[in-house]
């Protein structure tokens, strides 16, 4: 039932794998908005998709770009997208390697790989779509689920507190870290553009609505309700600095956390090869 002819006149459609449309994402899924923003960022920077490799894992957010975005796409095992992407980037240093996946995939089971990629400062861009739930499997609690929220495996209330992913990755050594919500779509597009251009590990965490699994169980079953909730509870970093921990409970801190230059992994490994070959007198004949 998949169409090859798409009628939409939206120019960004040219970046999509038409034979895979319409997407399997739920109506109103923030993931679709992230795909939209990503296409706009690629378009704005005039990046040729032939110079892109997109890697994803398992989960609804891992489906955002794979298979829907038309580029070399690698859809991998749960939690390991960043590790696969590391191999791809070392092999193809001149291509832009982008990981688009979810909070469960990248920060729960995949947390280790996320931390070390940031530590290595490898030149990949990670767009981490945080819908604070395990959506694909039916709506179980995640390490990013807000305290007190209702999910299928926290049916009374969530007793854990969510991980602050952006702050953690910033501390691990990333070059660029930013957090936005899908409601802040203009800033999101600009941030993705910046992340793609940074040499080093860049993370854009996108707080995204999952109306079907999260919203519905937490009194926000309409996608627009969740978007309004994001707008109401977002606090820019500059303001958050002056607020107490209690005041920040349940709020989304948005903005750019880190933007710095650090030695980058692929540069370093290639530099090492040059040094070794030089010192062993292996160059030329």
């Amino acid at each position: 039932m998949m169409a090859k002819k798409i009628y939409s006149t939206y120019p960004m459609v040219k970046y999509l794998r038409k034979e895979a449309l319409p997407t399997a994402l739920c109506p109103g899924c923030g993931g679709g908005t992230v795909l939209n923003a990503f296409a706009n960022a690629i378009d704005g920077l005039k990046i040729d998709p032939k110079d892109l490799v997109v890697v994803s894992g398992i989960g609804c957010s891992a489906w955002i770009a794979s298979p829907y975005f038309l580029a070399d796409t690698l859809h991998t095992t749960h939690g390991r997208a960043i590790a696969f992407a590391t191999g791809v980037k070392v092999g193809l240093p001149d291509k832009k390697v982008v990981v688009i996946s979810g909070d469960g995939d990248l920060a729960s089971i995949g947390g280790n790989h996320l931390l070390h990629a940031a530590r290595r400062n490898i030149d990949i861009t990670v767009i981490l779509v945080n819908n604070f739930i395990y959506g694909m499997t039916g709506g179980q609690v995640a390490p990013t689920t807000p305290f007190g929220a209702i999910t299928t495996t926290s049916p009374y209330r969530n007793i854990e507190h969510p991980l602050q992913i952006s702050e953690t990755v910033a501390a691990a050594g990333a070059s660029y870290v930013a957090r936005w919500t899908t409601a802040h779509v203009y800033q999101l597009i600009e941030s993705i553009k910046k992340a793609l251009q940074v040499k080093g590990f860049s993370l854009v965490e996108v707080v995204s609505q999952c109306p079907v699994q999260f919203g519905r169980r937490n009194r926000m079953k309409e996608p627009a309700e969740m978007l309004r909730w994001f707008l109401k509870n977002s606090v820019p970093i500059s303001k958050a600095r002056k607020m107490s921990e209690d005041e920040l409970e349940g709020k989304f801190i948005i903005g750019e956390f880190v933007d710095r230059k650090r030695p980058e992994y692929v540069d370093e490994i290639n530099k090492l090869i040059d040094e070794v070959q030089e010192s062993f007198g292996l160059r030329g004949d």
Binding site: S66, A85, V90, G91
Partner: protein, 396 residues
């Protein structure tokens, strides 16, 4: 820069760095040099006894050849990075032992399903669990075959010495590239750390293969099809503008996921099996000694094949018609030859450093009237010539 290993510049470097001749080195090092000669220029690994020397050798030598050594944060990340790099065009390898091999199973299955060439070295150690970390064993025979879930074929090879490891790892790479499949290389802690004479050949004597690449756009559009009828699809690498889609989900010939149509899954999984089953001549290999008239057939593999050979030689001197069969490719098992040899024998003894694993394969091809017995030893010390000879005498 993607390196295949047979470029003139690479041959020049190999000639320059590794002069042919006899060396005294441990099995792990011999294996590593074999991998370098095979064209391996990307290694992502995690240290684990008794395989760490492979990582160390690769870390030291790969930069000299323009290759990449990555130390990942765990074994899972290692095999993941390998698969990613293989899709950019590198020949890739990692080495681990039992506990790490257990961790790698999921992504090994991913490599089978996405038909990604790679070589996974398992330097077996005493298990289960942490076991005797520094001692060799042969307990991963069936883990190599069935460690990952679902219906999947596996090709696994096992050398019998450090010298043999040098050549067998080259063969493993050639199989992986030719059949677009991962190959498991079953080594063990004894051979890994034993120092012996290893002859490094001249580069000209080493023949290596590279994977099938698409000839045209049409072939590139079907990365999981069967355009040549041999079950092996051409591999449209990343970065060439093919817009290749690779997924571990069940997929059509174009690579796009389709989990709804039963025929798609059936076709894909059967083709992946057929790719291995119908290409026996690519990987099947075994060694035989004195099998023409053997009444007592000893079957063995890996490190145990050596004392087994010693025992068979001694038995022959004592007038016992003993013979030795050593499968070098252990999965898929050389069923036809096993059946032939078992027909001629009165007794079949399977010697291995475990509580009986290869014997389960052998049993399938041995008639009920033939005596089948295992010669098993665990505890980290290899079987000796005496121990095997005693068993041979016992059934003579």
């Amino acid at each position: 820069m993607i390196i295949r290993g047979d470029e003139p510049e690479q041959l020049r470097l190999l000639r320059r760095l590794y002069k042919p001749g006899n060396y005294f080195m441990q099995g792990n090092e011999a294996l590593s040099y074999g991998a370098l000669f095979a064209g391996c220029r990307f290694y992502a690994g995690y240290p684990i006894t008794p395989s760490s020397e492979i990582a160390e050798t690769m870390a030291r030598e790969l930069p000299k050849l323009g290759g990449y050594y990555l130390q990942m944060e765990d074994e899972i990340g290692s095999i993941a990075a390998m698969v990613g790099a293989s899709w950019t065009g590198f020949k890739v390898m990692t080495a681990t032992s039992g506990p790490g091999f257990s961790l790698m199973q999921e992504n090994l299955g991913y490599a089978v399903m996405t038909e990604t060439p790679l070589v996974l070295v398992d330097v077996q150690r005493s298990g289960p669990s942490t076991g005797q970390a520094t001692k060799g064993a042969q307990g991963d025979f069936f883990q190599a075959r069935w460690g990952t879930h679902g219906d999947h074929p596996i090709v696994a090879v096992s050398p019998t010495s450090g010298q043999d490891a040098f050549w067998e790892v080259i063969r493993a790479f050639n199989i992986a590239e030719k059949l677009r499949t991962p190959v498991v290389f079953l080594f063990d802690g004894v051979l890994a750390h034993t120092r012996e004479r290893v002859t490094i050949p001249s580069v000209e004597d080493v023949k290596i293969t590279y994977r099938k690449l698409p000839d045209n756009e049409e072939e590139a559009r079907l990365p999981f099809g069967d355009p040549h009828g041999d079950g092996v699809p051409p591999m449209p690498l990343f970065g060439k503008g093919y817009f290749t889609h690779v997924t571990g989900s069940t997929h059509k010939e174009t690579g796009l996921r389709d989990v709804y149509t039963p025929e798609v899954h059936d076709k894909l999984v059967r083709r992946i099996h057929r790719k291995i089953e119908k290409n026996r001549e690519v990987y099947e290999k075994y060694e035989e000694h004195f099998t023409d008239d053997a009444e007592i057939l000893v079957v063995s593999w890996g490190v145990t094949a050596r004392p087994a050979l010693g025992a068979v030689l001694r038995a022959r001197k004592e007038g016992i018609k003993a013979g030795l069969f050593v499968p070098k490719t252990v999965h898929p098992f050389p069923a036809e030859r096993m059946r032939e040899l078992a027909k001629k024998a009165r007794a079949v003894l399977v010697a291995e450093m475990n509580l009986g694993q290869m014997i389960i394969e052998v049993e399938r091809y041995v008639n009920g009237d033939v005596l089948l017995k295992g010669i098993n030893k665990i505890g980290g010390v290899p079987l000796t010539v005496e121990e095997i000879l005693r068993e041979i005498r016992g059934v003579a």
